[in-house]
Amino acid sequence: MPLEDLSHNFLTGRLEDLVRWARRASVWPATFGLACCAIEMMATGGADFDISRYGMEVFRNSPRQADLMIVAGRVSQKMAPVLRNVYDQMMEPKWVISMGVCASTGGMFNNYAIVQGVDQIVPVDVYAPGCPPSPETLMHAILTLHEQIRTGELLRRREAAPEPQPAAESPWTPELGSTVRLGTPT
């Protein structure tokens, strides 16, 4: 039974802790290495930085067997639907780490070809800045995610998430109105 269905009381409290421990101790990443950040992601899996101590060295090739999608690299316009496709094939519970500045905000490439932030396509849980982020930064991002899983903060946020409202009137109006949107983020 998914964790979201449990009503929180003292009987199920221990069970929740157990489920959260299981979920954070064996997060299996999906291979979504795109560019230079993918090389640093591979280096994190290597012997010097060793992601295997968190139980994460099995990069599952099939998204159906993966829990975590580390979007490592710049997402081009052509790749964006493929990214969404892969994300949709993953099963709940799933998390997304946006690794690197190109995945987080478009990075140094503010142009026609790159989606300015992968959070326009998939909901992101942790952003890891850097160009590329060194393996230590990526591990810090992973540990942040583990902490969020451990406290259950992620689930609470998604349950409590309000319906997306239309953008309120803000004093700043952009002169061009063209941001890239590919589907609506949940």
Partner: protein
Amino acid sequence: MDARARVHRAARDAHVTIEASPTTIGLGGETVRFVGRDAYRSTVAALREEGYELCVDVCGVDYLGHPGRDLPEGVTAERFEVVVNLLSLSQKARTRIRVQVPEHDCRVDSLFELYPGAEAMEREAYDLLGIEFVGHPDLSRILMPEDWEGHPLRKDYGVGRVPVQFKEAPGPR
């Protein structure tokens, strides 16, 4: 007459054109030839016969807004240029051919029959600049998505910059 013989004949006839086309010397010591669109394919064929076995690069340049390039006498400047770099392994030499391509009739011959390796490079020039290569087996977009409109590397196509607002900054950059 089969293709091989046609190439030989074109090369023989082109030797006249090669001597006549204006040339300069590039920064690396290579000969840079300026040829017209009609002599383009035969010049490249002749150079291939002379020993330039490898077609290193075929690219396009959009000169809209350039203050003034120094072209030799007899070459009329057009908006686009197709630049071909060839390499001779036997002579350890490079050479360059520059063809002026007008904006209203943006077509040039394809080098696919001479150098099959030019196929992907010509597709890229078509995709990003809109220069058509006549005789190319499959002239479709290669880097941009299929339904993209416009040719991004042209000078009148904006960079597509999204304005970024920084906290407490007076306005978008």
